[in-house]
């Protein structure tokens, strides 16, 4: 079986600048691939093409072996590609389960014809998915504002999982977190892997990458310069690829 999600020779230009140049990348189900690179290396642009924010100029994206026509974030969501941005996109003034159901609230009929929010259902479903992912949040009726950074990350991830994410793109999930909370998030990534989710992880933290990733892709100036299996590489090799010292395989 081929990759669950795959890009073939995709390219994105902004005016004269080639932000992503002819990059092919594939991720299997249950696999964590880390994308590394210096600032401006094209990591963000790459994932934004996969998640539908930017249309690609050249190249194709395949999902489950079939060509996927991704032109907007909605298209990506529809086939199960979810992205968790650094700012998490949570409404802090709403509670945990409302965030998990944000935009796709479950309603029931009041007096037979008026649709009202079905709080009980949403609460129950939310606790199920949190349980499945081993996430511990005291009360799902608390506003997200009262949660810790790690817990918020967990809420964002469970939202994706609940809505059947098959591919999860995570942008710097551990930045701005304390050590204990980083651990929680990394544990969660491992849990996701066990559930057969394909994870694309963007990170600067070499330690995180080596803890959870199966493969490491390095980008420099828009090009893919390395695709390494974690078990067969070392920190030095990756760093050298990132900064561009010549150490061609």
């Amino acid at each position: 079986m081929g990759y669950l999600i795959e890009t073939r020779n995709i390219t994105k230009r902004f005016g004269g600048l080639v932000a992503v140049d002819n990059v092919s990348l594939g991720v299997n189900a249950g696999e964590v691939v880390a994308v590394l690179g210096d600032n401006g290396a094209g990591k963000s642009t790459l994932i934004k093409m996969i998640s539908g924010v930017y249309p690609s100029d050249e190249g194709k994206i395949f999902f489950n072996g079939q060509e996927a026509d991704i032109n907007s974030p909605m298209d990506a969501l529809a086939i199960g590609i979810e992205t968790i941005y650094q700012d998490l996109a949570l409404a802090e003034n709403l509670n945990v389960y409302s965030n998990i159901f944000l935009g796709r609230e479950k309603t029931k009929k009041f007096m037979g014809f008026v649709p009202v929010l079905d709080h009980d259902y949403m609460h129950e479903e939310a606790s199920k998915v949190l349980k499945k992912l081993d996430i511990n949040i005291p009360s799902l009726r608390n506003n997200v504002r009262t949660l810790s950074g790690g817990q918020r990350q967990a809420v964002a991830i469970s939202r994706s999982i609940y809505w059947n994410a098959k591919v999860l793109i995570m942008d710097e999930p551990t930045a701005a977190l304390g050590v204990a909370q980083q651990k929680q998030v990394l544990d969660l990534v491992n849990t996701l892997k066990d559930h057969g989710i394909a994870v694309i992880l963007i990170s600067h933290q070499m330690h995180d990458v080596f803890e959870v990733a199966d493969r490491i892709v390095v980008m420099r100036r828009g090009e893919k310069v390395g695709d390494l299996v974690k078990a067969e590489t070392s920190t030095e090799e990756v760093v050298n690829l990132i900064v561009g010292s010549e150490m061609v395989k």
Binding site: M74, D87, A89, N93, L94, G103, P115, V116, L117
Partner: protein, 358 residues
């Protein structure tokens, strides 16, 4: 916010209830205070009057609540109210005085057209705000002048009078009249009560209460129980997140401003029932600013994301009770401006101290 304080409040159930509903407890406090200082304050009649006269302010505050939760502001509601009141008045006047139509029919047609008309300013400001990113402050300020100009043109600057009497009979009537020892009567004084006996009757439950209860229930329901309400909060909390979760934020904002304008239109209709004439809004009335103030006292934030209909009602009543109480206690009128200003500041400072609880 230091979480230890928040936590200790969270643990103490009583404290938590008080902190969360401080405006309500403030209201209670004032009620007790003025009952002592103001002769005639503590009476059913006075409370009924306070609420009856606050109906317009409550509707305005409800309109503003929706807008403020999305972190916007609507400055045009005061004049939309005037526009709706004058339009309804003019149509009723023409139909009724033509002699061909009954009072009921004229009133029905008048208010229907006025309510439909009151949607338009909201749609226009909504489109400007949502599609063209005009700041809400300016978009609704523009509508401010336009709606009032139109209202004045329709009425030629005179209040629209010569409307059917049934308007005020309904608007200012009571559901129940009671004479101690003399029995009850519904929807009107018994026939043949002379001037000298008027003061004997106790009037209970103004009709406006029933009207207000219905409107408030619908708005409360809309905001708290439906998807629409949930999305309103989401947009105010994190517009980006709302967009990414697939909420059509532009459409939603247009609906919000239209709704706010519509509620202001309802206020205009109520105004015509209450006064029996079609009133345009004077430029100095500042209905919108007082509505914003009441919403904020009720615990909403101008940054959006929080607030509620009932909280805003408490906010309006707090100002109304404060003003009424000071009046009845014989405080010079201009101290009231100052008192309301200080109350507002206090409201925010308290809110700022317990941010996590709202």
């Amino acid at each position: 916010m230091n979480s230890s304080l928040a936590l200790s409040i969270e643990r103490s159930k009583t404290l938590r209830v008080v902190a969360k509903n401080w405006a309500f407890f403030f209201l209670l406090f004032f009620l007790i205070l003025f009952s002592i200082t103001g002769r005639g304050f503590l009476s059913v009649m006075n409370f009924q009057n306070i609420v009856h006269l606050s109906v317009i302010a409550i509707l305005m505050a409800s309109a503003e609540t929706f807008v403020i939760i999305t972190s916007g502001i609507d400055l045009s509601i005061g004049f939309v109210m005037g526009l709706s009141s004058v339009t309804a008045g003019k149509i009723i006047q023409i139909l009724y005085n033509s002699g061909n139509h009954s009072a009921g029919f004229s009133i029905f047609i008048g208010i229907s057209i006025a309510l439909v008309l009151s949607l338009i300013p909201g749609i226009i400001s909504g489109i400007m705000i949502a599609k063209y990113k005009v700041p809400p402050f300016i978009a609704t300020l523009g509508m401010w002048g336009i709606t009032n100009g139109i209202a004045l043109k329709i009425s030629n600057g005179f209040p629209v009078a010569e409307l059917p009497d049934s308007l005020t009979k309904i608007g200012n009537g009571y559901t129940l009249y009671y004479k101690p020892g003399g029995g009850f009567s519904f929807f009107g004084l018994p026939e043949g009560v002379g001037n000298e006996h008027i003061r004997d009757y106790i009037r209970l439950i103004p009709n406006s209460f029933l009207f207000l209860a219905i409107v408030l229930f619908i708005l409360y329901f809309l905001l708290k129980k439906t998807k629409f309400g949930q999305h309103t909060y989401a947009i105010g909390g994190n517009e980006d997140a709302a967009i990414r979760s697939g909420i059509n934020v532009k459409k939603h904002l247009i609906i919000i401003y239209t709704l706010s304008s519509f509620i202001a239109g309802i206020a205009g209709i109520f105004n015509i029932f209450q006064t029996g004439i079609g009133n345009f809004t004077p430029f100095g009335a500042m209905y919108e600013l007082f509505a914003v103030a009441a919403v904020v006292i009720g615990g909403a934030s101008l940054m959006g994301g929080k607030g509620g209909i009932l909280a805003s009602v408490v906010g309006v009543l707090l100002i109304a009770v404060l003003e009424n109480g000071l009046l009845i206690s014989g405080v010079e009128p201009f101290y009231r401006f100052i008192a309301v200003g200080l109350l507002l500041i206090l409201a925010i400072v308290i809110d700022e101290l317990f941010p996590d609880l709202f």
